[in-house]
Symmetry: C2
Subunit: 377 residues, 2 copies
């Protein structure tokens, strides 16, 4: 065996890679054709059944070719993601779910979230009028033809904007908001508007490439029937709809957002005081710790104001965080006393609480950590 | 446009998928040939240069085919991971770095970690003798031909095992351990053994499929030259070597393991007390929170004893955790006072501490979150 043999094999691999990529290109072109066909048929850009079929086809081919099915599924899921991007709000036309005339007004539509939705509405045959701080003088004119009015402004001014807007609204217009706290906002919308009220909370950031599989929480508060077409429009865009009451939403968000962000923020500020050598820490890390450190690091690349708003948005949040800190203080005692028995007892109780989610998390995070490992050099 | 047209396009996509997968199979076969060639040439299973070349080739082909380069790189990295699995310790033969005679003894070699390394050593031409609780009567015989002696037992009995082993060791034998705390263990090895001492800490769990890109910390404490071949052997297996002193290692691990695990454990036990509807929580989650919840859930699927050992392994850890809890208490005051200014000030200070890592984390975690989104139905 000489080095030349290895080089020959590698050249064959390179040629093979070229062929694979040509076929991936061909696949993208076919997907674009399928997208046009779907639009003309009034179908959603995303079909759960089709995705399930493509992945099961992969499993068959894995068996045929004696390849691990997890491998082919991972590759195909990545390919599918790229296909869904071709059907995003900027590139693709969607069927319009509102059959009568009617436009869309987005107050604060020049923000990241407003822009995404403006794109989607425009590519579904709606006229969209956006305005921010400036442009209020044109509001009465914009609102004339509007069927949907969405308030997409920072949470601390949302109620003021609703108040300011309300004298210009008609009863046939659907009033919506995008804020991350629902009870007080929905209450204000009910108070100041007489027509249909639909609270919305898109559970993603303005950096998403497509709405496929993204969660949108809906809180229908008045005349749910009137806004059915709008919820259907979100579904056609590929979103997963999660309907709940304002209280259910807010209780869950106190945990999902306020408590979790507080915990991450506190870990980060403590690390800053500790000031370890970050490079050394990273080089010594297991994949799991690199991921955890990354989850902390990413928070601090974002807007402090946004996080302060979310964490401090209610007394309920602050009480929850206080309970959390008291609970941590109790866990510190366990550690100081090296009380392995209590630690184990609480650990096992928590395992029971998580149920099968614990095992599922171990499996799924394994695949995420492997991906993180792929990125290493 | 009729439904038949969409079906035709989908059939073409399925045929194309079949072709792609046939080429992926061909690639795997070529990689197996390359692996044999590399072994015969005495090369490592993993070549950083080759990986860099394959990925840059992808970039070229992305440009040629007008495909997003991030997309092709993601696909190719997943393909490369599968190739590295073909070169794991169970399936592949590696060159032997110890040129003279000499075998390997692993005390506790029937545990998960011991078994992985036993596989790798055996497939690199070493005889491996493992024993646990039982089998001590055979130890003197096993040790006769040993060059490398590795202690891979739970941390609380490691020093006892070293003591028990030491009267049977010769000065030409390299003594190693796998524990997650280095200072006291390395000290014991120095005290009870007169020959070369090399502390090792593999930064991964027994579930890894291959050592490629996995970090192994090395703490050479006596006669570093004598164990050079062993470090080289780890490199040939694909591992990333991170050399440091016992103190550097332990200080970093207090943060990487003890503090982080404590924080995750405390969050989990608090959630258990709160007892929210886990299904509702998951369905309402953004990708980032699903990932965070998964990182918490996965801990509780594992062995409480292991985590108690890591968290409570030293007074240093317990002090660090106490400081952390005090720091969290101070952050609670910020929240209770809705003190946005102090929050923002600490936030920005921490952003400075993280430096470019914050932005990098935001970008890299974006790709991880997208992968998590691929998994949704």
């Amino acid at each position: 065996m000489i080095i030349k043999d290895l080089e020959d094999i590698r050249n064959k691999i390179d040629d093979n890679d070229r062929e694979i990529i040509t076929l991936l290109k061909k696949r993208q072109d076919l997907v674009k054709q399928a997208a046009v066909a779907k639009k003309n048929l009034g179908l959603s850009a995303y079909s759960q059944d089709r995705e399930a079929y493509v992945l099961s086809h992969c499993e068959e081919l894995a068996l045929e070719n004696e390849l691990p099915k997890g491998f082919l599924k991972d590759v195909m899921k990545r390919v599918l993601r790229e296909s869904y991007k071709l059907c995003s709000g900027t590139d693709f036309n969607f069927p319009r779910m509102l059959k009568e005339d009617g436009d869309v007004v987005i107050v604060g539509g020049n923000g990241g979230m407003g822009r995404i939705f403006a794109n989607y509405f425009e590519n579904s045959g709606y006229k969209v009028f956006s305005f921010g701080h400036r442009g209020w003088d044109k509001a009465p004119e914009y609102l004339k033809s509007a069927k949907i009015v969405i308030v997409s402004v920072p949470i601390d001014i949302t109620i003021d904007i609703i108040k300011k807007l309300s004298p210009m609204l008609r009863e046939d217009q659907i009033l919506c908001d995008f804020t991350s706290v629902k009870a007080p906002i929905v209450e204000a919308m009910m108070k100041y508007h007489k027509g249909p009220v639909l609270g919305l909370h898109p559970m993603f950031g303005p950096d998403v490439k497509s709405l496929v599989k993204q969660v949108v929480v809906t809180v229908p508060e008045r005349d749910e029937k009137a806004s059915e077409f709008l919820v259907e429009q979100l579904r056609i865009w590929g979103a997963t709809i999660c309907k709940c009451s304002a209280k259910e939403h807010d209780d869950a968000m106190a945990i999902i957002q306020a408590l979790r962000h507080f915990s991450t923020y506190s870990y980060g500020t403590f690390l800053q005081k500790l000031a370890p050598d970050l490079e050394k820490l990273k080089s010594l890390s297991s994949p799991i710790y690199r991921l955890e450190l990354m989850m902390v690091g990413r928070l601090f690349a974002q807007d402090p104001r946004l996080y302060a708003d979310i964490i401090m948005s209610s007394k309920h949040n602050s009480d929850l965080i206080e309970n959390f800190v008291n609970s941590i203080k109790a866990e510190l005692e366990v550690v100081k006393n090296a009380d392995v028995d209590t630690f184990t007892e609480r650990f096992l109780k928590t395992r029971d609480f998580f149920g099968k989610f614990a095992e599922e998390s171990l499996a799924e995070s394994g695949s995420i950590l492997a991906k993180l490992q792929d990125e290493r050099k």
